[in-house]
């Protein structure tokens, strides 16, 4: 009995030592497997350690590729088998383990395979081949005697299979099975971690890329939106101006035609009156000469009533002549101003345009505003005369309207290089600073809705812009406003739109 006890103790000690060694190896695997996220390192660690310490010479790791297929991702001790071999789920030991998600230990693999093959052969010989299925080659040792295949599970989900085979007659024990199971569980977690990490990295980089792309798009979009907004604003303004111009020009055109018609209709009778007055004056002269004849009784010749009557004739004729001349001048101004017969770009004497305009707005200035014509040397300027005249009407009308009671409008012209400069200064109330940068906007007015459309300066701006000129404003509240127009003497023709709206100016 004593001998038996000693032997029993020795066995226990031996077993304890073995278990301790196993625990150390497992600890080694557990510690190292979690220190890497590299799948190949994980495979090497698992398969290498199993070989080195537990004598599992032939092992493979397969991962589930899709629901039907496992693919060999790591192999140890299968020198002639390249990685990447596949196993259909449900086929062979590995495929069956994957299908059932249950560990399997087979200890008589080769005899069983031989047994099944023998029966297969017998059935083929018995003419029953049609009952047989395909022989499916599976990765691993063709002559394995024993095999443990363990499903790699993450919770309830299969991710692959870990398989160990042996050609040795020594079959895998319960201890081997337990050991392989622990390692398989460690491996499953590590593999999943690594795969998740890889996935996260991929997703992160995809996200970063997408983010960059989006950012780029956003930036481009912002630029595009802002450019487009500017374009739209510009288009909107142009559209509004065009609308305004269309309205205005329609109005102006009809007024212009009316004015031209009036001028024409008045011209003839006024001409007749004027020439009649002249004829009358000369006829009176003839009568005077006749009265000086010595044959004409002196008593009658010196009669005071006759002398008085002649004086009345002289005065009337003078007034008639003066009045008709003035009317003729107005009519000429009107004709000159409307320029209905001159829609082409032409060389224009700006001073004439200014003078005509002043004649037409005389009713605004008469008796309360002194107009100072400070004209300098100014060659003719190439422009659309009717449009420029409209500019003058707008500038001078505004100037006159800015002066509430009495004051002065000073018109100064001079040449500045290739430009003609026209400055209109008034001594009116001035423009509020907050309105200054809006005065050229269509629809902006300080006159109240009933006074005007608020279009004058906007049209002015547009006409000058079309002529490639410029306009600016200086104003001081309570002191007055100076508007300065600069027009190129000869703007490149291409700058001037071919379809300029013919605007007929009128105050």
């Amino acid at each position: 009995m004593a001998t038996q006890d000693i032997q029993s103790n020795e066995r226990l000690v031996e077993k304890l030592a073995q278990k301790t060694a196993e625990v150390h190896v497992l600890k080694h695997i557990a510690l190292n497997i979690n220190s890497t996220l590299d799948l190949d390192q994980i495979y090497d660690l698992v398969l290498g350690t199993m070989d080195e310490f537990f004598g599992f010479r032939h092992s493979i790791i397969l991962l589930l590729e899709d629901s039907d297929t496992l693919r060999v991702v790591a192999s140890h001790g299968h020198e002639n088998q390249p990685l990447g071999g596949t196993v259909p789920v449900g086929t062979g030991v590995i495929g069956t383990v994957a299908k059932r998600r249950r560990l399997m230990r087979v200890n008589n693999l080769r005899p069983q395979r031989a047994y099944f093959s023998t029966i297969r052969r017998q059935m083929e010989e018995a003419g029953r081949a049609s009952e047989l299925g395909k022989i499916v080659p599976v990765p691993g040792l063709p002559d394995a005697e024993s095999q443990i295949a363990i499903p790699l599970m993450i919770k309830d989900r299969l991710i692959g299979v870990f398989s160990v085979e042996s050609r040795e007659q020594r079959t895998f024990s319960d201890d081997d099975e337990a050991l392989a199971t622990i390692v398989a569980n460690l491996a499953a977690s590590a593999i999943q971690n690594a795969r998740l990490y890889r996935l996260v990295e991929e997703r992160r980089s995809e996200l970063a890329e997408a983010h960059d792309h989006l950012k780029q798009l956003n930036e481009t979009l912002e630029d595009r939106v802002s450019a487009r907004t500017r374009e739209l604003e510009q288009t909107n303004r142009e559209l509004r101006e065009t609308q305004v111009q269309l309205v205005q020009s329609g109005k102006m055109a009809s007024l212009g035609m009316l004015a031209a018609g009036i001028a024409h209709e008045i011209n003839t009778p006024i001409g007749a009156i004027h020439s009649n007055a002249d004829v009358e004056r000369r006829a009176i002269g003839v009568i005077r000469d006749v009265l000086q004849d010595p044959a004409f009784p002196e008593k009658l010749r010196d009669q005071p009533r006759l002398k008085h009557t002649f004086k009345i004739f002289d005065d009337i004729n003078r007034v008639t002549l003066e009045a008709t001349e003035r009317v003729i001048k107005v009519i000429q101004s009107l004709k000159s101003f409307a320029r209905l017969d001159e829609p082409e770009l032409e060389l224009v004497n700006l001073h004439e345009g200014l003078d005509s305009t002043l004649t037409l707005i005389n009713h605004l200035t008469k008796d309360r505003i002194e107009v100072v014509r400070n004209y300098g040397e100014l060659p003719k300027v190439q422009c659309y005369a009717s449009q420029i005249n409209q500019v003058f009407v707008n500038l001078l009308t505004n100037a006159a309207q800015a002066i509430k009671e009495t004051g002065t409008i000073t018109i100064t012209t001079h040449q500045d290089g290739a430009c003609a400069v026209i400055e209109v200064a008034d001594t009116g109330g001035g423009i509020k600073p907050e309105h200054l940068d809006r005065i050229f906007d269509p629809g902006f007015t300080t006159k109240g809705v009933s006074v005007g459309l608020g279009l004058g300066l906007s049209i002015t701006y547009r006409i000058i812009e079309n002529h490639r000129g410029s306009i600016d404003v200086r104003s001081e509240l309570g002191k007055g406003t100076i508007l300065t127009v600069r027009l190129p003497m000869a703007p490149p023709r291409s700058y001037l739109a071919e379809d300029q709206t013919v605007t007929v100016p009128l105050g």
Binding site: R110, Y115, Q122, A126, Q169
Partner: protein, 158 residues
């Protein structure tokens, strides 16, 4: 009685044999067989039984029912012989020679198929201490597969 093909199998190919009996309560028992030989009448088989399995005489003398199954390990070719107990004897030289042959074949084949050492296999086939003689009444094909269970002798009626 025993067809020539099966006689040849018994003489040259069978590698492992086991026998069965049953007692008065129909409780079956297994008896390992360490060797066999066919008597000249070609219907009586002599089975060598190791000492550990010789507790079968009582049953045999009571009811005489005996079954013997012999397989060729590897090919799985297997036959079952059912028959009636005739008598028992101590193994003679021929029985011992047959036993040695069987032991050698067994060791060789098991070594090939299962990879176990031949010496270990030889030790597994124990020396016989008793010979059971029985006359074959029926022979069944027991090779796994499509014809398994088919009675060869007497031929099954189709």
């Amino acid at each position: 009685m025993i067809p020539g093909k099966i006689l040849a199998f018994l003489e040259h190919e069978g590698t492992v044999a086991v026998s069965g009996t049953r007692d008065a309560n129909l409780i079956p028992a297994i008896h390992y067989v360490s060797g066999w030989d066919v008597e000249p009448d070609k219907r009586t088989i002599r089975c060598s039984i190791p000492q550990a399995f010789t507790d079968l005489i009582a049953s045999l003398e009571d009811n005489g029912q005996f079954s013997l199954t012999i397989e060729q390990i590897g090919s799985h070719e297997t036959y079952q012989f059912k028959g009636d107990y005739v008598g028992s004897a101590r193994p003679n030289e021929a029985d011992m020679a047959a036993h040695e042959q069987v032991k050698a074949r067994f060791a060789k084949v098991v070594n090939q198929v299962f990879g176990l050492p031949q010496e270990m296999c030889r030790a597994y086939i124990s020396r016989p201490s008793l010979v059971i003689r029985f006359t074959v009444r029926e022979i069944f094909l027991q090779t796994p597969g499509p014809g398994a269970g088919h009675r060869l002798v007497p031929p099954e009626e189709e």
